[in-house]
Amino acid sequence: MDTVILISQVIMSIALILTFVRVVRGPSLPDRVVALELFSTTLVGLVGVYAIKTEVASFLDAAIVVALMGFLAAIGFARFLERGGPRDD
């Protein structure tokens, strides 16, 4: 079980790195917002796996909070884009 958890953590870390490449390279601001949302979703998965590894179920509450923050950030960025704030792609 520990091996499986380690492998999955490595896989999700690679996923985070690939997502971060898109955050840096992304040609426009909406691309970066999509990448940041995927970032928070992957983080929820990492926290869930960590909860299984350490046998501490309270980490699932942290996962709920991370998911909520990611959703609110996406909504806020989208509102900002539609209002037409200053942009520097």
Binding site: M1, V4, S8, L18, G45, G48, V49, I52, I64, A67
Partner: protein, 134 residues
């Protein structure tokens, strides 16, 4: 047996997240990238939370992980819709191989107005009547 199922769920979830990030990196424009990330990443989180529910097997924790699943299932489409809408209005370029953009002939980006397809002279001059539904 339950360890095997848990391990399969965790590995499957992690692989779906990797798939989502590869799609985000490789696909050509905003809408196809969103198509890759929202679905695959939501499925990855759902699989991992199922594994957590099976691992702890207590009522409160199972309810909590199902709450996370429900939350992801409700928010991922809403966030994708809002970002896609904002991206279209901002004018992000579609992929050069795009076959059809049905919004383009009907939407005016300057006035932010959408045509309904029912604009005729008669409809423009029509007065509201008492029998109209509100």
């Amino acid at each position: 047996m339950i360890d095997f199922i848990k391990g399969t769920l965790i590995l499957g979830g992690a692989l779906f997240m990797l798939l989502a990030s590869v799609g985000l990196l490789r696909l050509p424009d905003l809408l196809t990238r969103m198509h890759a990330t929202t679905k695959a990443a939501a499925l990855g989180v759902i699989l991992i939370m199922l594994a957590a529910a099976m691992h702890f097997a207590e009522v409160g924790i199972v309810a909590r992980s199902f709450a996370i699943i429900l939350f992801i299932l409700m928010t991922a489409p809403v966030a994708a819709h809002v970002i896609g809408r904002a991206g279209y209005f901002v004018g992000s370029k579609l992929w050069s191989g795009t076959i059809k953009d049905e919004l383009r002939p009907n939407y005016d980006p300057l006035t932010h107005e959408l045509k309904s397809g029912l604009e005729t002279q008669e409809n423009a001059k029509r007065q509201p009547r008492d029998t109209d539904p509100d």
